[in-house]
């Protein structure tokens, strides 16, 4: 469904093109990093600390060195001068406490899984065998595993730092002039309005990309070549150059086929640095590929927040203030954008609503668990969860339909562009249209009727309907804004368009796709722009020797920022070609018009195709004076604003009140991601995103025991959903073109994940709300749901005596008696 009609359907843009990428991938002609073998290549295996917190007393490597096939065994001390350091690129405050993160620990380990020594052998099996022979003597230290515990500073994750608190970051609408005073709004609501106070737990998640991380380093050429299963080859190159004493010009980083990332490969890892250090020292190509078990314990995790939320509203449900207090667990080290991820929520906790007063507070904390960083959505799912759960709570208090309460508070479509209470200007949107379409697809009214009937007859299987009208910020990011936030890099993107002599086109992009389908989507964009066949466009990426400039792929930025760079480079090609066309056609450049791949002379039938101009430029035999024989062009695009996609997601869950099992019955969503380049790719992104978000609500969670050992350390215990756990989805789109880029696109990579988690939990809570239940902690396992139901029925609630809403008591965690505390203490 199209709401605005100012985008005439172009030839390629909007077509459900099948992916170019697939040909290799469906036939096994893939090239993932672990599939790369170089002559004389050696293999690394890591010796890892079994303890979450310890000092290293001594390491004995003699037996390992003598093992068959072993070439070298090194400790952190052995490579201290060449191993570099894992950097944090976004210190959120200038006084952020940031522990030094050595790739191979030397004296102190702060989480279980940290590398303490590296074995290099002729085969992977020999390297792994020899790991067992390295004898490390540790002095165990007490561990601190829970972020709230850590804030007490009783046990320190890094004793030398003197505190576990890394930083405090605040956005206050009154202070920055974008809204009123939140505490005033809260006090007023306490006397004559509605005040809702809740604490939610965002459990720790494991990204779970299917390709384990792998790195191959070849030191034998003029440049050191690094292949890595990474989302960020350019950032990795920068980090290596900045910390390992290798000139950037002597480094080539390649992200070949990469098997998913979801933020989990937006990192520069100890394993990458250790492999580079060993390859340089030994002068031989080296490879390290992690096992899945290692991926679980050492890859960065996502989420892990405590959210304390206070919403003030009038008795009829108009929000008057919203206060957010987050405690974010960073794990043992501040990862590359670790501190910044929760802070991204600052602009998103206000959601799609007009909130007069707002305050966001975030305290980041160090613990003895693996580091936390971006995971699909990165800060925005946490925010969308918080606000969308609270909207349902508000609806519950007022006794209104959750969609009505949202509509009452949301930004109307005629109010865009709209500057929110957090200070962001939303480019465009139409919440009414997306919601109307979603209700229709979902049969909202019919399901509400069924829900009422089931309640009426006390059906043991109750029906719950969950709503999530989310928004997110995409297109990371305007460099100036990043600068003002103390981020260590820019947010621009780069592209080159090269017209080849035979009329085909090479497009070089600085983004680094790993499953998204950008090769197909960008080909469609360029085909339309230059008027060349889709098949004639080649998209090159992911190799710093081919695409030297780039900021890589994350944060739903690739199309919005990277696509715009491609458009601008293509437009420059057209401008250059126009001059040559005018010369060849003996016309004035002003009389040349370009359309459908052809330069024509106005008012005549004379013209030349872009391929003909390319050939003429290649020969250079007849070019205007002073014109270089090249049509190629570069563009670097720095966005001035983010884009703000949105959507209405509706979820029906059947909750068996006898067993606690919650089963998904129906899921319908209508997303507005701006202009759609390829609906097939958009759908694919939505489906995959939905399941990741649903999995957070229902199944996934990293659980640690009291020693800091990951209990859910394999696919047996960490339950990634399978096809049998999920259902088919009903998806559709509305289109409100973005005003921040010439294609009108908004970004879709994270939408499904951000939207679906609160929709699912809202549905389960909706099913149980008549029992007095207003929260289930994620993942909403049958056991937790069952306990909530048991707790509710044993509570003998006198509804008439009940407070309008439960209130916080100082220092108490989640005060919903139904909620259990998370495993990740």
């Amino acid at each position: 469904m199209t709401i605005t009609e100012n985008q005439a359907p172009a030839h390629e843009i909007g077509r459900a093109r099948r992916r170019k990428e697939d040909a290799r991938l469906i036939t096994g002609r893939s090239r993932y990093t672990d599939s790369i073998t170089l002559p004389g290549m050696l293999h690394l295996a890591m010796v890892r600390s079994p303890f979450a917190h310890a000092t290293i007393r001594s390491i004995s490597t003699e037996a390992a060195k003598a093992a068959p096939g072993v070439v070298s065994v090194v400790t952190g001390a052995d490579i201290a001068d060449i191993q570099g350091v894992n950097i944090n690129a976004w210190p959120i405050t200038t006084d952020q406490v940031t522990p030094t993160h050595l790739p191979v620990a030397i004296e102190h380990v702060a989480f279980a899984g940290e590398i303490v020594a590296v074995v290099v052998a002729r085969s992977e099996a020999e390297a792994r065998d020899a790991v067992e022979l390295v004898d490390v003597d540790y002095d165990e230290l007490p561990v601190v595993l829970d972020a709230r515990e850590a804030l007490k500073d009783e046990v320190l994750a890094h004793p030398d730092l003197g505190t576990n608190k890394s930083a405090f970051w605040q956005l206050d609408s009154a202070a920055q002039g974008s809204g009123g005073d939140v505490d005033e709004a809260i006090e007023k609501a306490r006397t004559d309005g509605i005040l809702i106070e809740r604490e939610y737990r965002q459990q720790r998640l494991v990204p779970g990309f299917m390709e384990p991380r792998s790195v191959v380093v070849d030191p034998t050429g003029d440049q050191l070549t690094v292949w890595s299963a990474t989302q960020v080859p350019h950032i990795l190159r920068f980090a290596i150059a900045a910390t390992m004493g290798i000139p950037e010009s002597k480094l080539r980083v390649i992200a070949p086929d990469v098997g998913g990332g979801f933020g989990g490969k937006l990192q520069t890892t100890p394993e990458e640095f250790a492999t580079i250090a060993l390859a340089r020292r030994l002068g031989k190509p080296c490879k390290f590929t992690e096992t899945r078990s290692e991926a679980f314990v050492t890859g960065h995790h996502g989420r892990d927040q405590y959210q304390k939320l206070t919403m003030a509203a009038t008795t009829d449900g108009m929000i008057t203030g919203f206060k957010v207090e987050l405690i974010a667990d960073l794990g043992a080290y501040v990862a590359i954008v670790g501190g910044g991820v929760p802070v991204l929520g600052a602009w998103m906790f206000n959601g799609i609503y007009k909130i007069p007063a707002y305050q966001f507070n975030c305290t980041t904390v160090l613990t003895n668990k693996p580091w936390v960083d971006a995971y699909r959505g990165a800060g925005r799912p946490e925010a969308a969860f918080g606000i969308e759960r609270m909207m349902d709570e508000l609806a519950g208090e007022v006794g209104a339909d959750p969609l009505e309460i949202r509509e009452k508070n949301w930004i109307k479509h005629e109010e865009f562009p709209f500057t929110t209470v957090s200070g962001m200007t939303y480019d465009s949107g139409n919440y009414e249209a997306a919601t109307a379409r979603a209700k229709e697809l979902f049969d909202y009214d019919g399901l509400r009727r069924e829900q009422a009937e089931r309640r009426e007859r006390n059906d043991p299987v109750q029906l719950g309907i969950g709503v999530s009208t989310f928004t997110e910020m995409c297109g990371l990011a305007p460099s100036r804004i990043l600068g003002s936030l103390n981020y260590g890099a820019g947010g621009w993107e780069h592209a080159s368009v090269r017209m080849l002599a035979t009329g085909t086109v090479e497009v070089v992009t600085g983004i680094s796709p790993h499953g998204q389908g950008h090769v197909t989507g960008f080909s469609q964009i360029v085909a339309d722009r230059l008027g060349v066949p889709f098949e004639d466009v080649e998209i090159l990426h992911g190799d710093t020797a081919i695409a030297p400039k780039g900021m890589d792929t994350y944060g739903s930025r690739s199309l919005v920022v990277g696509g715009e760079a491609v458009v601008r480079a293509a437009d420059k090609v057209i401008e250059k070609a126009k001059v040559i066309a005018a010369h060849l056609l003996e016309a004035s450049a002003d009389d040349i018009e370009f359309s459908g791949g052809r330069f024509g002379v106005k008012g005549t039938d004379k013209g030349l195709g872009i391929a003909e101009i390319a050939a003429a430029t290649f020969t250079g035999h007849n070019l205007p004076d002073g014109i270089e024989p090249s049509l190629d062009a570069d563009a670097t695009f720095d966005p001035v604003n983010f884009s703000f996609p949105h959507g209405t997601h509706l979820c029906a869950m059947e909750v068996d009140t006898e067993t606690g099992a919650a089963t998904m019955r129906k899921y319908a969503c209508v997303d507005d991601v701006g202009v759609i380049i390829n609906p097939l790719l958009v759908e694919g992104q939505v489906h995959g995103g939905l399941v990741q978000g649903i999995a957070q609500a229902l199944w996934e969670g990293a659980v640690y025991d009291e020693n800091g050992t990951l209990v859910t350390g394999s696919f047996v215990d960490y339950t990634l959903p399978s096809a049998a756990d999920t259902i088919s989805f009903i998806t559709d789109t509305t289109v409100s073109p973005s005003t921040t880029n010439s294609l009108g696109t908004k970004g879709v990579g994270e939408a499904g994940t951000i939207a679906s988690t609160p929709a699912v939990v809202n549905a389960i809570v909706d099913a149980l709300r008549p029992m007095g239940i207003h929260d289930i902690e994620m993942p909403c396992t049958p056991e937790r749901v069952w306990r909530a139901i048991q707790g509710a029925s044993s509570r003998s609630v006198d509804e008439t005596q009940r407070d309008a809403a439960p209130h916080f008591e100082a220092d108490q965690p989640n005060q919903d008696p139904s909620a259990t505390t998370g495993g990740a203490k």
């Binding site: 469906i26 098997g259 088919s728």
Partner: protein, 171 residues
């Protein structure tokens, strides 16, 4: 070292392998059949799925020596006479892959599923693929692809929509 003879994708190989070598490592490291991938170390993800004498097995879950005297088909041997298998075409047509890491295993498993049950219901497809994890697609389009391939294979012919898959073959 143990001597084994295995036919892989139609070619007969005789090799000396260490008894502990997993079939998947033999395929990837000895034969260079890197189309078959490894996603876990607990036999849960299915990325390594191949056919052994026509039926799907997780090649990380058996030793190379156990394949001695048997016939293995990997994703690289699924197309025949330059023609992609209907399942490969359907995966492309239905956008049933993103990063492609689960894809070889998923396609091999899906083929096996249709061999046993040529006309499966959606639920039967979902259950038949339970041992293969995909983190990208949310399974929705994988299910569609298996349904589409089932129709094509029952009709015993080429896919109906030939535009894109044809490019896929030649690209």
């Amino acid at each position: 070292m143990t001597r084994i003879t295995v036919t892989v994708d139609g070619v007969k190989y005789t090799d000396d392998v260490e008894p502990r070598t997993l079939l998947v490592h033999y395929l990837r490291q000895n034969l260079g059949k890197t189309g078959t991938l490894v996603g876990c170390d607990t036999s849960n993800c299915g990325a390594c799925t191949v056919h052994l004498d026509g039926h799907s097995v997780k090649s990380c879950n058996m030793l190379a020596v156990q394949a001695d005297g048997h016939e293995v088909t990997t994703i690289e041997g699924l197309a025949s006479d330059g023609q992609l298998h209907p399942m490969q075409l359907a995966f492309n047509d239905c956008h049933a892959l993103q990063c492609g890491y689960c894809t070889p295993g998923m396609i091999m498993q899906a083929c096996d599923l249709l061999k046993d049950n040529p006309d499966p219901s959606e639920q039967e497809i979902r259950e038949g693929l339970e041992g293969n994890l995909c983190r990208c697609t949310g399974y929705h389009n994988i299910v569609r692809a298996v349904q589409e391939a089932a129709v094509t294979m029952r009709e015993g012919g080429a896919t109906t929509d030939s535009t894109a898959p044809a490019q896929a073959v030649t690209a």
